[in-house]
């Protein structure tokens, strides 16, 4: 019954227009002190078993093939407790 989180972010060298648009909007809304914003995706996967080695290997595979576009994105996996 474990829950696994996959965070997917654009690679650092890839333009993130959404993040930039937010960063430009913040000062107009009176928020200062934020120098950069990057926007990515977060996936919550509910597993029907424990988050053991085998399950995490599967999740890694899913992230590589489906959840992230590895041409432009990096991902990170963690088990939520």
């Amino acid at each position: 019954m474990a829950r696994v989180i996959v965070d997917v972010m654009l690679k650092p060298e890839i333009l993130d227009p959404q993040g930039q648009a937010i960063a430009r909007a913040l000062p107009r809304l009176g928020f200062t002190g934020v120098t950069d914003v990057r926007q990515g995706k977060r996936f919550e996967l509910q597993l029907d078993g424990p988050a053991d080695e085998a399950a995490l290997a599967q999740v890694r595979k899913m992230a590589e093939t489906l959840l992230a576009n590895t041409v432009i994105e990096d991902f990170a996996i963690r088990v939520e407790d």
Partner: protein
């Protein structure tokens, strides 16, 4: 890392340089050394390598494309012909139209969504830089077999890319093609067309006249996008080596492009633009060399002033970056404040990075040192020109001999008809076209499922005087016909687009084309190319419609297997009274049906 200055280059003539990795041949490199009288600096090498790439220099196609000019029919309507960002055609009542089609095939294979999106972005900036308001887009697409696994990756991404970018710009998509054929499986074709409207006397050119005028870079900041892309992505085959040195994928920002469009139109209106050029493949290298060569002959640029997204970029990388949504303008010194104010209104970053000179040299500095000092025309116009060997493909005669008469007669017509109707190439394309906004801007008279897109122009530019005119556009191509006979295949593509325009009630006026072929270094491909160009040029002459511009895309192949030769042809027509356009389909019961032609 030591800065490779001009001074240093002169002192270290024997330093080895990675010209081969940048796609340059030995003799090309030697020519650069002759031109400069020394070895190039690494920044200069970056400039020459991208400017002399197939993609930017048309070195293999130039000798053939000349026919479009030499055989061009006399046409008073042509205001700007080939060689500019896009051709401009006079459509009457003081109005002019500019249109062009361009490929983004290789990037769309690597990253379908971004590749296709930036393909739209690029062609829209071409049209914008002529001084026109972009008013519509079209797209001609080729994918592998509908049931081949990679098509599942490529097709949805490409359609989404075109849709998200074009929709966000507010440009109606008024037509195109979707064709499936196994020959495109490792090499899809994404050809995007844009059409723009301007007043006849408002044409802008990519030129930098008037020493003392300022060079302004505006739009997005420069990042690592597509560095090396112009030479690696667009002119190398997809072998593992080029995959390994794959540059950062260009990512589009359609919102920035929308701002750029509105900003540029306001700049044009304010009369503060002397010359303008979009930054596409070869980025700053291309814009500076071309504009300087066409203008006063010289330019001085301080590369440190280029606003960067990635502060670690080296000058060579800045010169080669293909970051999207950037433009370069030449502005009279007195107009600079007004120019910058308009950019600020639209939230478009703009920076003066240099000025026009009459020295005949393009000089660039970095940290106060001269790292580029070249005659700009040598990079922009005097690249190598190849007369590549041609050879009719080995199986060409046999292929043609294998005619339909050898096929068995279908036994069950019903079955045959159902198979045809259910085949991906004939099935409805609504899955694609329903993802495109065809209504935005309120001037779409006909779009899918019509044979040609038709636009009203009266209201496309607010404030201009009224006209009843409209324009029609169609884009067509058939790689299978062209494979059988490239000469006739190109003519058939033209005829189809020509007919599609004509049946809306419009008079065909001008042609654009995108020539998608395999490697020019393969004599059999080169033969196909030469035949197709000859066919298209002859047909344009016969039909009396000039080619106003276009694009050549070579190296469309997987390994050594080329795609079918695929010339895609766009035809523009004008209709005097757009309310008289003819819809396709049977409009009322009881009407007679007539068949015209053979």
């Amino acid at each position: 890392m030591t800065l490779d200055t001009v001074e240093r280059a002169a002192q270290t003539p024997d330093e080895p340089q990675p010209y081969a990795e940048l796609g340059m041949k030995d003799d090309e490199y030697q020519r650069v050394r002759e031109i400069l009288g020394r070895r190039p600096t690494s920044a200069e090498l970056a400039i020459y390598s991208v400017m002399w790439s197939e993609h930017c220099s048309y070195k293999s196609s130039k000798v053939h494309l000349r026919q479009f000019a030499t055989k061009a029919p006399k046409c008073d309507a042509l205001l700007v012909g080939m060689g500019e960002n896009a051709g401009v055609v006079d459509i009457g009542d003081g109005w002019a139209v500019t249109f062009k089609i361009e490929s983004h095939n290789h990037p769309s294979y690597v990253e379908p969504h971004q590749g296709a999106a930036t393909g739209v972005g690029g062609i829209v900036r071409d049209i914008l830089s002529m001084g026109a308001r972009p008013i519509a887009v079209m797209d001609s697409l080729r994918f592998g077999g509908a049931d081949q696994p990679d098509t599942k990756r490529v097709l949805p991404g490409v359609v989404e890319g075109i849709s998200s970018y074009g929709n966000c710009l507010g440009l109606p998509n008024i037509g195109g093609e979707v064709v499936f054929d196994p020959c495109y499986i490792g090499n899809p074709l994404v050809n995007a067309l844009c059409v723009g409207l301007l007043r006849k006397d408002q044409i802008k050119l990519a030129t930098a006249p008037g020493p003392g005028n300022k060079v302004v870079l505006f739009g997005a900041r420069t990042g690592a996008d597509g560095i090396g892309g112009a030479s690696v992505l667009a002119s190398a085959t997809f072998d593992e080596e080029s995959q390994a040195k794959r540059p950062a994928v260009q990512v589009g920002d359609p919102f920035m492009e929308k701002l750029l469009i509105e900003c540029c139109l306001e700049l044009f209106q304010a009369g503060v633009v002397v010359g303008i050029q979009d930054l596409g493949a070869a980025g700053i290298s291309c814009a500076t060399t071309e504009m300087a060569a066409k203008g006063a002959g010289g330019m001085r640029i301080d590369l440190n002033l280029v606003p960067l997204r990635d502060p670690t970029l080296r000058p060579e990388e800045i010169l080669m970056s293909e970051s999207q949504e950037r433009m370069m303008a030449i502005v009279a010194p007195d107009d600079v404040p007004a120019f910058l104010a308009i950019c600020e209104k639209w939230d478009v970053p703009a920076t003066v990075i240099g000025e026009v000179t009459d020295t005949g040299r393009l000089v660039m500095t970095w940290d106060g040192e001269v790292i580029v000092d070249i005659p700009p025309g040598t990079a922009a116009n005097e690249g190598p020109v190849y007369e590549r060997p041609l050879r009719e493909p080995a199986g060409q005669a046999a292929l043609n001999a294998d005619g339909p008469e050898r096929l068995p007669r279908p036994a069950d017509l019903r079955e045959t008809l159902l198979t045809l109707l259910g085949s991906p190439n004939l099935a409805s394309k609504e899955w694609v076209t329903s993802q495109y906004d065809r209504y935005v801007r309120g001037n779409t008279v006909l779009a899918q499922p019509a044979d040609a897109g038709v636009l009203r122009i009266a209201e496309a530019l607010p404030g201009a005087e009224p006209t009843t005119r409209g324009i029609a556009l169609a884009v067509d191509g058939n790689g299978r016909y062209a494979k059988l006979d490239p000469y006739a295949g190109a003519q058939l593509a033209l005829s189809e687009a020509y007919r599609n325009v004509a049946v809306t009630g419009a008079r065909p006026l001008a042609v654009t084309n995108c020539l998608n072929f395999g490697s020019p270094e393969d004599p059999e491909v080169m033969w196909q190319f030469a035949e197709a160009v000859r066919g298209l040029a002859d047909a344009c002459q016969t039909l009396g419609v000039p080619v106003t511009g276009g694009n050549v895309s070579f190296y469309n192949q997987t390994g050594s297997t080329a795609i079918h030769p695929t010339p895609v042809v766009g035809v523009l027509g004008v209709i005097e009274d757009v309310s008289k356009r003819i819809r396709h389909g049977f409009t009322a019961p009881g009407l007679r049906v007539a068949l015209l032609g053979e």
